[in-house]
């Protein structure tokens, strides 16, 4: 099987898995869900590292790659942290009053 054909299979199955998983998420958590998936798609940082760190990288690649690593890192860091910050606020019962 050609590599891209394999990739298309992976894509198709992941998309269906995604549909099923997202459908299970309560609308209560749609905002944190969005910031979580955004942080996950910042996995683009992998591509950015490969471009920036290559031994034969021309200057253009290094500059564009640097910006890409920077932008993805911001998304990874702030995405996970803000998702957690939001989720911490969802409480079932009244917090104890002082």
């Amino acid at each position: 099987m050609k590599s891209y054909e394999f990739g298309l299979w992976v894509f198709m199955l992941s998309a269906f898995l995604g549909f099923q998983l997202i459908r299970g998420v309560s609308p209560l958590l749609h905002t944190p869900l969005m910031s979580l998936t955004n942080a996950i798609s910042a996995i683009a940082v992998v591509g950015a590292i490969l471009i920036t760190g290559a031994p034969d990288a021309p200057t253009l690649s290094k500059v564009l790659g640097f910006i890409a690593v920077l932008a993805s890192t911001i998304n990874v860091v702030s995405g996970y942290l803000i998702t957690d910050r939001m989720l911490k606020m969802f409480k079932k019962r009244e917090p104890e009053k002082k």
Binding site: S14, L21, L29, S41, A42, G47, A48, T52, G65, M89
Partner: protein, 464 residues
């Protein structure tokens, strides 16, 4: 020393697979608030594994710039996450879509100039760059509108859809030309420019009330761009993560569209709210209004109260006062619930996050379909800063621009109270019959100060 070929071919793909499993579990655990935080942790571990694995690959030799970018990115990302007020979450989401899309577009551009691939790889690259650049500018525009740097009303002109379609077609044609003959490098900047321009034009006609759909759609595009990068770089982890993000955004935008009874094309090309403004301003029907004292007495005398919040609550930052009212009423034995319409606010789930921040327990936040059957039994429906989502015209008037949109049936409650600044029609410029019903009391004023007067009155009643 580990043999570097073994590392690249066996160990690193294994690490990527672990990372993908982490991401899948992270989304799975988001299905309940009880497990969601565990999901974030497993997602973080997945990301860490993927990044460390990539740094170990033997073709990565120059660490200097990568580490500087990591450091700078964290220095920006940490304050961004902790200092951002919860009311600004829609803006933050828009800007993070812009960052993600930019990263993916730039990686594609660098790859194109470095290797000038052909065939399938070039096809994936073109898709990645097109989606990346258009999502970048579109998300920046969405950010501008949410932050109110740009006018939030839809901007339309004659022939707009024609211009947009023309530019998009031109971008696609040039993209296909580049796939067929990738060596025509002079076409590439034109391609980039068209994609960037299309992103701007796409958002110009979109109004604030449609932002939940658009943000979800941009989320989907950013994910698809990352998946296309996975094809271009032949990296399965990117394909999996991109597909998950892409399908997530897609489903959310479908949910948003359904909650407005509109189609995708209608949201993107319909320029809602522009046509009806003139028709809606002249209504001279009688209304009844009430003071905070009267409102407090009615609330105090009721057994069940259903609160329906909307974007106006976020604008006036009334969620904390609302929670104080909730406390006082609950203490006095009144059952208070919150009815959340899927498109209330500026992004999916916006109201839930604001109320959770104000410490309202999440089991009191109810979905529209879930709470509608209970509204006829409610003594009071209290509408705060919501308009179209409680407009009975959606059910009764087939000519209404929002006809067929599912609404929270506030009008079925014994008494309806609406906190509103004035009788100006709402964002979409549609008149709302709810305000003129015999069982409706209008409470005129800023939501936050009105609620705080109600809370004061309730406390006074409690003491006497």
């Amino acid at each position: 020393m580990i043999d570097s070929g073994f590392l690249n071919d066996t160990i690193i793909p294994g690490l990527y697979m672990l990372a993908a499993a982490g991401f899948i579990l992270a989304i799975k655990w988001m299905n309940s608030p009880a497990t969601a935080r565990r999901g974030v942790i497993v997602g973080e571990i997945g990301m860490l594994i993927a990044v460390v694995g990539t740094l170990l690959r033997f073709e990565v030799v120059n660490y200097q710039w990568i580490l500087i970018a990591f450091f700078l990115g964290s220095a920006i990302g940490v304050p961004l996450a902790y200092m951002m007020p919860m009311t600004a979450v829609p803006q933050r989401t828009a800007i993070s879509h812009a960052f993600g899309a930019l990263a993916s577009a730039l990686i594609g551009t660098a790859e194109y100039y470095k290797t000038t691939p052909s065939g399938f790889t070039m096809g994936a690259l073109v898709l990645e760059i097109l989606l990346g650049f258009l999502t970048f500018t579109a998300s920046l525009m969405a950010f501008g509108k949410l932050q109110e740097i740009l006018p939030t009303r839809p901007i339309t002109y004659k022939g707009q859809n024609f211009v947009n379609l023309g530019i998009f077609t031109a971008a696609v044609v040039i993209g296909i030309t580049l796939i067929v003959s990738p060596e025509m490098t002079w076409l590439f900047p034109i391609f980039m420019g068209l994609a960037l321009l299309f992103g701007v034009l796409l958002i110009i006609p979109i109004g604030g009330a449609d932002m939940p759909t658009v943000i979800a759609l941009l989320n989907s595009y950013a994910g698809l761009s990352a998946a296309a990068m996975g094809f271009a770089l032949d990296n399965k982890l990117l394909i999996v993560a991109g597909a998950l993000d892409g399908s997530s955004g897609f489903i959310l935008s479908i949910i948003m569209c359904r909650a407005m009874n509109r189609s995708f094309s209608n949201v993107l090309f319909g320029a809602f709210g522009q046509l009806q403004v003139s028709a809606a301003t002249t209504s001279e029907r009688p209304i009844r209004s009430a003071s905070p004292e009267e409102a407090a007495q009615i609330l105090d005398a009721s057994r069940t109260v259903i609160v329906i919040p909307g974007y106006g609550m976020a604008v006036s930052q009334a969620q904390h006062k609302l929670r104080e009212m909730y406390d006082v009423l609950t203490k006095r034995g009144v059952d208070v619930q919150f009815a959340i319409h899927p498109v209330a606010g500026r992004m999916p789930g916006h109201m839930n996050v604001l109320l959770a921040e104000a410490d309202v327990p999440y089991d009191k936040l109810r979905e529209m379909d879930d709470i509608n059957p209970e509204i006829p039994m409610a003594d009071v429906a209290l509408v705060i800063g919501a308009n179209d989502v409680v407009n009975p015209g959606a059910e009764t008037d087939p000519k209404s621009p929002i006809a067929g949109m599912p609404i929270i049936q506030a009008y079925k409650a014994r008494t309806v109270m609406v906190i509103k600044r004035s009788m100006n029609p709402g964002f979409a410029g549609i008149d709302n019959d709810l305000y003129y019903m015999p069982n409706t009391l209008m409470l005129f004023g800023d939501a936050k100060s009105f609620l705080s007067s109600i809370v004061k009155e309730l406390a006074a009643v409690a003491r006497s």
